[in-house]
């Protein structure tokens, strides 16, 4: 089962987890990403806005989920990403991997979130006080994605 959802609605983790568990595998690993309230000299993030490439984003995520499913023989691969404005503490992304055993589920889950960060067209824009700026890509994210190979 591959489930990909890009939506401005809040992410319902319980519902997504239940769907992944219903795939019938022995292990489900999940990752939840939250909007951070980073501390900067110029103030904390008040609003984070996520822009995406409608159509292109879903296609990239489906490709990623299919790659993980083939590589780890997953029973379920779930990627849910929120877009639009959100506030610190809110869920921005949820991924789940269901596999026969824990090592495959954990590796596949890490693969999905690492590669999502470099391969899926999303862009973050932060608002701090009265100023807004686009978040710069991080070299560390490229390195994390690269450890999974091509």
């Amino acid at each position: 089962m591959i489930r990909v959802l890009v939506s401005p609605a809040p992410i319902d983790v319980a519902e997504e987890l239940a769907a992944a568990e219903a795939a019938g595998a022995g292990a489900v690993a999940t990752f939840t990403g939250l909007v951070r309230a980073d501390e900067h000299a110029d103030g904390t993030v008040a609003v984070l806005e996520l822009e995406h490439y409608p159509g292109g984003t879903e296609r990239a995520l489906e490709k990623l989920a299919a790659e993980a499913t083939a590589r780890w023989s997953l029973a379920a691969a779930t990627i849910v990403h929120r877009v639009g404005p959100m506030r610190p503490g809110e869920r921005i992304v949820f991924v789940a991997a269901a596999a026969p055993h824990r090592d495959a589920a954990l590796d596949a889950c890490a693969f999905l979130i690492d590669r999502l960060k470099t391969d899926a067209p999303f862009w973050k824009r932060e608002t701090r006080g009265s100023s807004a700026s686009w978040v710069e890509a991080r070299d560390a994210d490229d390195a994390a994605a690269a450890r999974w190979g091509n």
Partner: protein, 83 residues
């Protein structure tokens, strides 16, 4: 050909989407970016540093030397920052 822009590239160019008739001499993403830069000062400013740009041809991510021949849609955008 449909050209899409996202994030600060979209803001710099001043639109998220435009239709262009590409000269036959423009065959790669890099050449397309050079050609688009001639459309207006805003385009030129947004495309001033090609190393900061990424692209997708018909929704497939690719390098700047990827072919655009026969493509229906090319998206140009900054490095991605999701997750």
């Amino acid at each position: 050909m449909r050209i899409l822009y996202f994030a600060w590239v979209r803001e710099g160019v001043g639109t998220g989407e435009e239709e262009v008739d590409l000269p036959a001499t423009v065959t790669t993403v890099a050449a397309l970016i050079d050609w688009l830069a001639t459309r207006s000062p805003a385009h030129a400013a947004a495309f001033a540093e090609p190393a900061r740009l990424r692209a997708a041809v018909d929704q497939e991510f690719g390098p700047l030397d990827a072919s655009v021949v026969g493509a229906a849609e090319v998206a140009i955008f900054p490095p991605v920052t999701g997750g």
